[in-house]
Amino acid sequence: MTDARLGRSPTRRRVLQDAARAAGGCAAAGLLLSLYAVEARELPAEALRPPGALPEPDFLGACVRCGLCVRDCPYDTLSLAELGRDGAATGTPYFTARSVPCEMCDDIPCVAACPTGALDPGLETIDDARMGVAVLVDQEHCLNYLGLRCDVCYRVCPLVDEAITLERSHNTRTDSHAIFAPTVHAEACTGCGKCEKSCVLPEAAIKVLPTRLARAEAADHYRLGWEEKEKAGAPLVGDMIDLPDRGFEPALKLPGAEGVQ
């Protein structure tokens, strides 16, 4: 009776126990799911997201894995990651540059197809896409670095002479030829992967890497003197500082030395 008045009826007790059991079980399942969700954030370096993809953590909260981008890709570049096989979070779209690179369509059909905005509709020009950055990862095998004129990565680049240039230098091995070094300019590179796809070596010497791997980052407080000088229109520390000349006179003059000469 007292128990009932205090609300400690067997029914109430059972209800509370059932709720605790369900909540506890779901909390355990939820922790496992969270762990898996955190793991799934690790995108393999070879897996590139379609143009306009939000940064990976945002992308995984926005992509519903419907595959509409895959369907509207005219070159079958994109595919949906399959569970346990492709590394990228299951069901999300990706491509591997060495297999099928992005052909950089002018109308960006994959972005237009995305219903959720996981591929940012704000991307209007494909040249602004940043799927990754090409890096010449192995100079020791690159034919151009060895002094040959392969040039394939340079010539297939959709932004030739902007994203990849050939930088000429003296070939010290032959002493009479030039080396045309393929050089990526990250600010222009879209990461389409055509260079990696077309590298003639069995394993590409130039690879598209995710930006986080490909690029260094200057410390916030670093300033490039020559840039600052240009911005300011004048040297920041003024012209040569004229320090007082010393050394012609002895630092210590003996008393009475004055007037000796």
């Binding site: 059991r21 969270s34 909260g61 399959e82 346990g84």
Partner: protein, 306 residues
């Protein structure tokens, strides 16, 4: 044969005797056709180049104009901190409105690609005469649904889509499986050996979500002719959410014979297996107890008389 000794193999036996095999499997056949049809629509494109529908169940585009998005998945993107583009919001609105109006859990029994899997598991489970096994509360699915949103919020991901057997199965068929079949197989074994009606009836948060949409839906099954019930229990045996039948079938007098419970998937199997034609599809506003109209005695009165 007593009711206790009955096995699944004979649930609906009387119905087959009176209505014939097709009559006693009408809605089962229609449902399989519907499930195959929805899957087929998505497969026409990749298999035959006939692009009526693109995408998959989480989001699709029909005839290039009609966007449809799974509202549960979209809500997860909100929870993950993403404001989706208008197309997806519109698509989710259309899907939610249609299911809420017609029947929320129609998704479960007429569309979901996991339903044939768990149906098969249940058929085998009964054939093998296995015990019910672990039976968590039916309400556990709402806890799971809550968990899905909490994890989406905490991790900033569309959490359930990492493991969802429903979209895994659908995507596997349309885009390629990888090891997704393992998750489907896990659900099959879970329902077969661990827990009768375990996945769809107790745990699946997708079903829980569509159940919430089922609250005011129009399409309903009614035990309209409940006066004719001969207590054979076949409907209880075949129903994946058996608790929904009781109030409608056992109710008397003014108690509505319409199954109003949100857990009812409107699968129509109770209609199939009933040799007395107690059940029929109707709408939620047809709330006149038929037994009062046709003069048949309500079930309880009959039982009392016996």
């Amino acid at each position: 044969m007593t009711a206790n000794a009955k096995t699944f193999a004979v649930a609906g036996a009387e119905a087959i005797a009176t209505k014939g095999w097709f009559g006693a499997h009408k809605y089962l056949i229609l449902r399989r056709l519907s499930q195959a049809g929805f899957l087929g629509l998505f497969l026409l494109g990749p298999w035959f180049g006939l692009w009526i529908v693109k995408g998959n169940l989480t989001s699709s585009l029909t005839l290039g104009v009609l966007p449809l998005t799974d509202p549960l998945v979209l809500l997860q993107t909100f929870a993950a901190g993403h404001i989706p583009a208008l197309t997806a919001i519109l698509g989710a609105g259309i899907v939610a409105a249609i299911y809420a109006a017609v029947g929320g859990r129609l998704y479960c029994s007429w569309v979901c690609p996991i339903n044939p899997v768990t149906d098969l598991a249940h058929w085998l489970h009964m054939r093998l005469g296995l015990k019910k096994g672990w039976q968590p509360k039916r309400s556990t699915r709402y806890w799971v649904l809550t968990m899905v949103f909490v994890v989406s919020l905490a991790t900033g991901t569309v959490a359930w889509e990492l493991v969802n057997p429903v979209s895994m199965a659908h995507r596997a068929v349309i885009f390629g499986a990888g090891f997704a079949w393992m998750i489907v197989l896990a659900v099959f074994f879970f329902d077969l050996f661990v827990s009768r009606h375990g996945w769809c009836g107790h745990l699946c948060p997708v079903g829980a979500f569509y159940g919430l949409l089922n609250e005011k839906s129009v399409l309903r099954v009614s035990a309209a002719n409940r006066g004719a019930c001969d207590d054979c229990m076949d409907c209880f045996e075949i129903c994946p959410e058996a608790h929904v039948i009781t109030p409608a079938l056992r109710g008397t007098g003014d108690a509505t014979p319409i199954i109003t419970h949100r857990d009812c998937t409107a699968c129509g199997r109770c209609i199939d297996v009933c040799s007395q034609d107690v059940f029929r599809f109707t709408h939620r506003f047809a709330d006149r107890p038929v037994d009062a109209v046709d003069g048949a005695e309500p079930f309880d009165a009959k039982r009392r008389a016996a």
